[in-house]
Symmetry: D2
Subunit: 200 residues, 4 copies
């Protein structure tokens, strides 16, 4: 128990560190451009039971070493922004940090999941300075617009309620709303750009 608590503590520290980094980027961006690319940030640590379940599902050894190696979303950060252009702007700013190593990028905006899910996912590795020295910790970062986030929360709730076998009518409806959200986000973005380019 205590060993796992310590193991998870390192991930909690990684989230603290990522949070500080994101706040700095956002405040600096706000100062220079008078605009916040980041609307807000949420963090979560995967519960020990969920880690165990995921290891089991993947037929992997149930140990901390195995979890640290194979479960890449033990520490999760969700960044919500207004426009889809902000998503890529934040992605770029993260990549430019030379102490952060980007391990994987999955672009579910260019290629949405079959159910309609949209987000940009990064797996990054960041250094955490502990009393005994440095440790490198993996963090999953999900970047999405607030409309995508709203959809994803609802989908997640429904998925868990039906234990992955979502009724067909509900699945279809989810996919349709995902399409509306994508087109709404695009329209709002165009409107924003149009207004920006207008002479006053």
């Amino acid at each position: 128990m205590r060993e796992w608590a310590r193991f998870l503590l390192t991930y909690k520290f990684a989230l603290d560190e990522v949070n500080t980094k994101l706040n700095i980027l956002n405040e600096e961006f706000q100062f220079i451009h008078d605009y916040n690319p980041i609307e807000h940030v949420k963090t979560r640590i995967k519960a020990p039971e969920s880690i165990a379940a995921k290891l089991k599902r993947k037929n992997l050894e149930l140990s901390m070493a195995s979890a640290g190696l194979h479960i890449r979303d033990i520490a999760g950060v969700r960044i919500i922004c207004s426009f889809s252009t902000d998503i890529y702007r934040i992605h770029e700013m993260i990549c430019r940090q030379d102490d952060v190593k980007v391990i994987e990028v999955k672009d579910y905006i260019k290629n949405p999941k079959p159910n309609g899910y949209q987000s940009l996912h990064l797996i990054v590795e960041i250094p955490i300075f502990l009393t005994s020295g440095v440790e490198r910790v993996m963090v999953e970062i999900q970047i999405r617009t607030s409309a995508m986030d709203f959809w994803a929360s609802l989908e997640h709730k429904i998925y868990y309620k039906f234990n992955a076998s979502v009724p067909e009518t509900i699945g279809r409806e989810l996919k349709e709303t995902a399409a509306i959200i994508a087109s709404l986000d695009e329209r709002m973005l165009k409107l924003n750009e149009e207004a920006k380019s207008c002479r006053v």
Copy 2:
């Protein structure tokens, strides 16, 4: 200068107090129903220049007494939630607090503004306990879904850029997106209720 700083400090305290109250309501609701009606909360104090401009626009005396009496949104709280049903749930919870006096309710969801704006606005008065005794302070509370909030932020930016005279095409486009947002919010709500009522 110093007198105004002190005047505004009272409004800052009112926001601290409202924030604490909302956190308590949200945490308790989360504990009982395993669901957050409040997604997140933002607060702002009106800048002295904006207070002065508003007094001037309304042909009112430029004094603290006049500001305290006539400018009801010096302290502003914005509550963002997922579903429009949450908006009325939060409204109700605020009304039930017997130290909060609800002075005014404007329902721009049932009756959107001509430009398409949707939100529920409350003016409340709450007691603040200062070193010298209690003072009652007015706070404007805006409650809206995250889709409404996204729209309102964009509209606000455009309105200020064009100094209130928004080009007709952009105005039309804003109104259309407001309608899409309203219908999207309704669809998401129905989907949520449908999923909830399904037997598993």
Copy 3:
């Protein structure tokens, strides 16, 4: 389990509320007098096991009703200040808040405990606004200087290590250091007043 969690949640809310109140008082005092009477604030909720142990020790029924009635320090706030005069100043400011009911005052500064312990203890009752209505919750507030706090932390650690039977030499040493602290606090206070009254 769940019932106790909810019971304790109310005390957590009481601490949030007291914290907000103290911050307001401190910020306002700082603004007016350019001086912080409150150095910092710590809060803690009594662990369920400690509540149970205290009920048992007092031969009381082991129930939430009994705990809520008889255990007055379930929610604890510690206010640390620089000078002993600040202690009474804070006490007064708390008493003046007309929604706070002061139930008990124990002045262990005027009358230190036999072991040397010094602090001002208040039991107050404050209203908490829940989703279902208002509830009045008891909170213990301890106010002390940072020197008194340092001593009390050490004494507490020693007391628990020796399970209440502190070796005589250590007990004597503790009492002597308490006396040094009291005289140091008084000297620092005099020095402060002397410097304040000096013409420059």
Copy 4:
């Protein structure tokens, strides 16, 4: 004005970063040893006027470049701990962080200032990741016990009131209280060690 605001923003970010690092060290230490070496942390940014005054006093050019190079305490962190042994423990933990460069150490505990002042001062340089890339920023870290901190705050207030020419009687009294504090800190430390080494 704007250029200076941006310049100081970098120092604000450095404080955010140091704060995160210290919280991580303290939480980890607490987890392993069930003891907090850090009681609390305060941060401050030097006001532009104070930076200008210091540059003038040192006959240095009044520019950001000059301030960045010569004023090493623009960003200041104060770490308060219980025992003087904690001071060196924290110092060591900071030194072990391989992204932090310790530029200077001044031990005013082993060698107090003539007026009685005691603290451990470090000048460190830490990397801050901005939108445009990494920047290395200097931060002054002062580590002291809470008794030393109490004394230092009073001395600072008196020093400024008398514009550096503290009346002799007050200066003497300050020096005497500094000596009492040093001996009190030592006695408390011994008492702590004695209690720790006792068999129960």
